[in-house]
Amino acid sequence: MFGGKKKEEELDEFNIHVARHRPEELAKLAKTTKFTRKEIQLIYRGFKQECPTGMVDEDSFKNIFSQFFPQGDASQYAHYVFNTIKHNHTGKISFEDFLGILSKVSRGSVQEKLQWIFGLYDLNGDGLITKNEMLDVVTSIYEMLGRSTEPQVDEHSAKEHVEKIFHQIDANKDGVVTIDELVEWCSRDEQILQSLDTLDTVL
């Protein structure tokens, strides 16, 4: 009556977001991606278990990713991966985005995979990978190792690694790597092509 009301509005922000996202039909997803129905079912169940609302935001993504690399800090690499997934400026990814990327990267053609890899390294999206961009990504990969490795990871490990690799990929030595140079580099090496395949997952 006379005093101020309790700050209900402030407390409301802690409510679980009721915004939900329902994915497309199972049959349609099976058609547009390279997974079978059963596989999509499995993937969706796991997805929904972790994110009941059907949308993943970057923090939960980093969290989930970090669980696979318990020794190190996977959050920076997760951040770069998250950025490769197109999401409509809400900062969250839906199941369709997730499944699309998964299908492209784990079961797509070599060209698609390399495209995605290029997108991962090209942080600012300008179509060129500079040495610094590669250094950032490689640093984040090294961070995932954590402290208990042999030999130990120090602040120069990533830099050395990049020094070694970058000039090999950069065929015309212009200081940046284009998608063609990357494709060329990967196609030349049998083992790289093989490695691209080993990371598919059996469900």
Partner: protein
């Protein structure tokens, strides 16, 4: 980990980003064993084992929820012809009842957050909770949110401890949390002391201290020791001014700081002094000057920075503002009514005290609060009756809002106490979680090695030890993922503990203990390496016999074979292995070399490698992780010279090199493929590296 098992495909897919920069080719994927692995009008829903049945139409009543839409098809299990949800069955009961009756109930004994999560999972808005349960739900939610806010604030407070960059922030933190550094604590106590001194000085100033010279009346101490009190006052005000200016400087948001209550109190506390300096000591304004001194008592409010209880009291009053308002309003109403009646009742009495209605206010207040000074007393009978009614109603009116205020105070006070308790508990909890994580990481590494051993055994086609159940495909693939990471960066995961001998590993230093029994191996041109946990040492290409003190194995490289023997005597080696019997298992390492040594075309004998698990449940003695798949050359291991191995297992490795290797020199076999091993040494030093993965 089970809940994120389904995200593993994504993590593995994301790992493709490592491929272009990998220093070594990635190991092949694990081969999965056979895997098991989905209108009638009634639908069977299996929630964690408890079966629910309902009509399809029931569920379709609410098509925007999970069960009502075709989203439930994702959870359909074809084999059992039922929908399986791995969720809480007790809460699911309520959710299903919502479909049946249209009313969602909130069970009082359930935790609010778990209930909310279930609702979110099944796509039901909490707003449809029925009226019978809604208030309870909202109350619990409010408490929860307040708790979250507290946690968030304290978490931010703790986090900010780390991120201070400049003097300003450090000072601000020192002001707000005195317990964070010694200087802040000193400052805190000093200011507290001076506030106390200043207040005491104000009080003592007015105490009579002897007689006025030449006049009647006592002399207050303030006049007698004018200089002393003035100096004291000046000192205190200096301190307070300095404190205020420092706070002003350090505040992140100066405007907000200036408007805050504490800073206003500070200003009001020190302003009278400065105004007093400006006013000269003449009688005109000395009255005003005296008034100003009253404000000095506000300094006592500065104590609220120092006392939590005062702050709680202030906060309580603020939050009970509406109840207090009601109290004041109803009291005011009652006072006016009774004063008016009293006045008219006593108006005609001779020499009465009730000269006007405002004068009667005093009587009413004193009566209603049951003080009863007796300086104003009714004489007429009507007046006395009114007086009686007044005092009775006074008790009632005051007693009503007081419990509300008291309960508010108690709630806030307990909340604060709980917040402190939670903060203390949180620290202990985080410490325990850290320890658990560390131990799980270590267990993980050993499990990983076990998995690798089994995979390698699998690849080479030899039988595996059936004591261990085949690991779940997800585990296998997860371990494969981590191996890929190792290969990409050319590192290996080791266990986190300090090497058993406690000494830092120095590269290239031979082990102090060279066992004489293996002197036969110090044949010229032999290369010795060691594997197993002894390998903190980085072995160079100079042949030497390397064992580590207390190590349980030694690797001998002969011209035609590489042998790793387990020493029979253990000297406090690995804690795990001492408990078990060591078995010497023959391990043959598959070798292929794609680099033809100068005088021979191709190796004409290939040995195969298999790793057998012994009972010590750890990793393997030597691994061939790099030798999978197609014909990439890999001898033993393809890590660079500095790679070391660590494992908790003991094993024996016998490597048979092709006999056609020339002479007694072992050909350089370390590089597998040039592009994958950046550490290929250009010189033709015979090098054999054995490493586990």
């Amino acid at each position: 980990m089970a809940s994120v098992a389904a995200w593993l495909p994504f993590a593995r897919a994301a790992a493709i980003g490592w491929v272009p920069i990998a220093t070594h080719p990635l190991p092949p994927a694990p081969i999965p064993k056979d895997r098991r692995k989905a209108d009638d009008e009634k639908l069977l829903i299996n929630v964690s084992g408890r079966r629910f049945e309902t009509w399809r139409n029931t569920l379709e009543k609410y098509p925007d929820t999970l069960l009502g839409s075709n989203e439930r098809e994702f959870f359909y299990d074809e084999e059992c012809k039922e929908y399986f949800f791995d969720r809480d069955p007790d809460i699911f009961r309520h959710i299903l009842n919502y479909y049946r009756t249209g009313k969602l109930h909130y069970p009082k004994h359930e935790c609010l957050t778990s209930y909310d999560e279930e609702l979110a999972f099944f796509g039901i808005l909490p707003d449809v909770i029925g009226d019978c349960c809604y208030e309870d739900y909202r109350d619990r939610k409010r408490e929860n949110a307040e708790r979250l806010m507290d946690d968030k604030l304290s978490e931010n407070g703790d986090q900010n401890l780390q991120q201070l960059t400049n003097i300003r922030q450090k000072m601000w933190r020192a002001f707000e949390n005195p317990h964070t550094s010694t200087a802040a604590l000193v400052f805190y106590y000093v200011t507290g002391f001076f506030i106390a001194v200043s207040v005491m000085a104000n009080v003592v100033e007015t105490v009579p201290c002897g007689l006025r010279p030449g006049r009647a009346g006592t002399l207050p101490c303030g006049e007698r020791y004018k200089i002393v009190f003035f100096c004291l006052d000046t000192a205190c005000v200096m301190i307070f001014t300095a404190e205020y200016l420092l706070r002003l400087f350090a505040a992140p948001d100066r405007c907000k700081f200036v408007r805050s209550v504490m800073s206003i109190i500070d200003v009001v506390a020190i302003l009278p002094y400065y105004i007093g300096l400006g006013i000269t000591d003449n009688d005109d304004v000395s009255g005003a000057f005296v008034t100003l001194r009253v404000f000095r008592v506000f300094r006592i409010f500065k104590f609220s920075r120092h006392s939590q209880g005062l702050r709680i009291l202030g906060y309580t009053l603020k939050s009970c503002a509406s109840e207090l308002g009601f109290l004041v309003f109803s009291l005011a109403m009652a006072i006016i009514i009774f004063a008016t009646v009293m006045f008219y009742a006593e108006k005609n009495v001779e020499g009465t005290n009730f000269t006007s209605i405002p004068a009667a206010f005093w009587y009413t207040i004193v009566t209603m609060t049951t003080l009863g000074y007796g300086d104003m007393v009714p004489e007429t009978i009507a007046g006395k009756i009114v007086g009686g009614v007044c005092s009775l109603s006074g008790v009632l009116v005051i007693a009503l809002p007081v419990p509300v205020i008291v309960s508010n105070f108690s709630r806030i006070y307990h909340q604060n106490q709980r917040a402190d308790k939670r903060k203390a508990q949180r620290k202990a909890r985080l410490a325990r979680i850290r320890i658990a994580k560390a131990s799980s990481g270590a267990a993980f590494v050993s499990k990983k090695k076990a998995a690798e051993a089994r995979i390698a055994a699998q690849e080479s086609g030899l039988e595996i030890d059936d004591n261990y159940h085949q690991e779940d495909i997800f585990e296998l693939q997860h371990h494969h993922l981590l191996r890929c990471l190792e290969k990409t960066t050319d590192r290996e995961f080791v266990e986190m503990e300090v090497p058993y001998n406690g000494q830092p590993k120095r590269p290239g230093s031979p082990s102090p203990l060279a066992s004489p029994t293996h002197s036969a191996a110090s044949h010229p041109g032999l290369l010795h390496a060691c594997c197993g946990r002894c390998c903190g040492q980085r072995y160079q290409s100079i042949p030497f016999l390397a064992t580590s003190p207390g190590k349980d194995r030694v690797v001998l490289v002969y011209s035609d074979k590489i042998e790793v023997r387990t020493k029979k005597h253990q000297r406090g080696a690995t804690p795990e292995s001492t408990a078990h019997d060591e078995e010497l298992n023959d391990i043959q390492i598959r070798m292929q070399s794609n680099r033809s040594p100068p005088s021979e075309p191709t190796p004409d004998r290939l040995s195969r490698a298999s790793l057998n698990q012994t009972n010590s449940g750890g990793g393997t003695g030597a691994g061939t992780g790099g030798t999978g798949g197609g014909g990439s050359a890999s001898l033993v291991s393809i890590s660079k010279p500095n790679s070391t191995t660590s494992s908790t297992m003991t094993a024996s490795v016998v490597v048979n090199l092709p006999a056609s290797y020339p002479g007694s020199e072992v050909e350089p076999t370390s590089p597998a493929s040039p592009s994958a091993s950046p550490a290929t040494s250009p010189d033709q030093q015979p090098e054999v590296r054995i490493s586990t993965l």
